[in-house]
């Protein structure tokens, strides 16, 4: 299991601020989340992902989330 923390619009879309997901690639974890919480579909493409506190880059299919890792999903906004 991986722990996923959802913030702002992602939290609102999922209706939860913290959920567990099956360990796997980032692409698999996100697909599982969208299947469980379809409202996340339009929100995720703009989000930044922190895997164990570090920003992820590159192909989501190549990024592996091991058991016990933590994923933070942060939608950006720039209002001031």
């Amino acid at each position: 299991m991986v722990t996923v923390r959802l913030f702002a619009a992602a939290r609102a879309a999922a209706g939860h601020d913290r959920v567990d997901a099956t360990a796997g690639t980032l692409a698999e974890v996100l697909a599982e989340l969208i299947e469980r919480y379809p409202g996340l579909g339009p929100v995720l493409p703009r989000c930044s992902y922190l895997l164990d506190e570090m920003a992820v880059h590159g192909d989501h299919r190549e990024i592996t989330l091991d058991d016990g890792s933590a994923l933070d999903i942060l939608p950006p906004f720039a209002g001031g």
């Binding site: 506190e53 880059h57 192909d59 942060l74 950006p76 720039a78």
Partner: protein
């Protein structure tokens, strides 16, 4: 997190200053030395809007000796619901001048320097170099990446805050001692996918919640007390009424502060963020697909399960550098002059892409206007495609 006090103490405080700042002076952690550091500090606030209003007022009251204001806008009646440094009689005036007058009324010991200009790559380095600390209260992604990159290149700390509806975020970025904004948000969001406060609204008092965090952090950095938000993002949810913390580590792959930075000087931030027209933002709002969606669609097309036309709207010189297999080139100009329309099939879905999603959104607006109701564009463009789907291809 381990950074020394940013500012050396000024000389003596006057009798009037001692009376004014007495509630600070009797806090052991601040004291006379801390107050003298504040007096000597030079803080630049980028924007005198929602976040800039409370930030400037509290920085002034706290006794920051020199406050700079970068702001080119004028006060509009719709600002007054949250931009509390301006009042009814200021409507139509320069925000910079209105803010200066309010600050002088709050604390005449503050020297205010107004920079009534639009912050851009041509002036940001000279402006920031004059200050110890930057407070970012701007309202768009292009300026936020500009502020970040300039601060990294100059080695300056800055206090960042951002608001939308009931949500707020704040942090301290200082590449010498921790992460920068790009370590948290490496890429700007696809153009048109994130509404601004003007489009989506903002709870006025949220400005105070986040602006006051920014001022707290500024005071701590200047005086060298406490644990700063460097390496932590504070996320505020006004509806749930909670603050959650996200730890952020410095990213060795960061484009500007990483081990092998690819951004070593200022870039074109409007192009980087794909700044687009209102019509393009409107067209893109419900018609943006991700590069993963596109990958799936292309796989389905190859399997004979679906049909669509993928159009690359970049210029031929960019097509030479890198392409997505299965795309056809029709530069954006041919959409704007209408000549592209007759080349397009009307019985197939049209999918547009460009480099980052700005030009394809503009072309999409033309298509929607011409009746191509199911046309979509690819958020993030070929840059996102290369970084997420085909990293072996070149980015540019």
């Amino acid at each position: 997190m381990g950074a020394p006090a940013l500012v050396e103490p000024a000389g003596e405080l006057s009798i009037d200053e001692v009376r004014r700042y007495s509630r600070h002076l009797i806090i052991p952690d601040v004291g006379m030395t801390g107050q003298k550091r504040l007096k000597r500090a030079r803080v630049l606030c980028v924007g005198a809007g929602g976040l800039g209003s409370p930030a400037l007022m509290y920085l002034a009251a706290a006794g920051v000796g020199t406050l700079g204001i970068v702001e080119f806008d004028v006060v509009d009646e719709s600002n007054l619901q949250r931009q509390i440094i301006h009042g009814q009689s200021d409507v139509g005036r320069s925000k910079a001048e209105s803010a200066r007058d309010s600050i002088t009324e709050i604390n005449p010991f503050v020297e205010v320097v107004i920079h009534p200009e639009r912050l851009d790559s041509s002036n940001v380095m000279d402006l920031f170099a004059q200050y110890d600390l930057i407070v970012d209260g701007t309202d768009n992604f292009a300026t936020r990446y500009l502020v970040n990159d300039a601060c990294v290149l100059l080695g300056k700390p800055y206090v960042w805050g951002s608001i939308y509806r009931f949500d707020g975020q704040a942090s301290v970025f200082w590449a010498e001692y921790g992460p920068c904004y790009r370590c948290l948000y490496p890429e700007p969001p696809p153009p048109g996918m994130v509404p601004s406060c003007a489009e989506g609204g903002v709870l006025g008092v949220l400005c105070a919640s986040i602006g006051s965090i920014q001022v707290t952090e500024a005071i701590k950095l200047i005086t060298g007390i406490g644990d700063s938000l460097l390496g932590r993002l504070m996320v505020y949810d006004a509806l749930e009424m909670n603050y959650r913390q996200v730890k952020i580590r410095k990213d060795p792959n960061c484009a500007v502060c990483g081990v092998n930075p690819t951004v070593t000087e200022l870039i074109d931030y409007d192009a980087f963020c794909g700044v687009i027209s209102d019509a393009a933002a409107e067209a893109a709002r419900d018609s943006t697909i991700s590069v993963h969606d596109l990958k799936r669609m292309l796989d389905e097309r190859a399997a004979g399960e679906r049909d669509f036309v993928l159009i690359d709207v970049r210029e031929p010189i960019e097509w030479e550098i890198v392409t997505i297999d299965g795309a056809e080139l029709i530069p954006k100009g041919a959409f704007l002059d209408g000549s592209a329309l007759e080349k397009l099939p009307t019985d197939k879905q049209i999918v547009l892409h460009c480099k980052v999603g700005g030009r394809s959104a503009e072309a999409l607006a033309v298509l929607k206007g011409a009746g191509f109701a199911d046309a979509v564009h690819v958020g993030g463009g070929i840059n996102a495609w290369v970084s997420q789907i085909e990293p072996e291809k070149p980015n540019y």
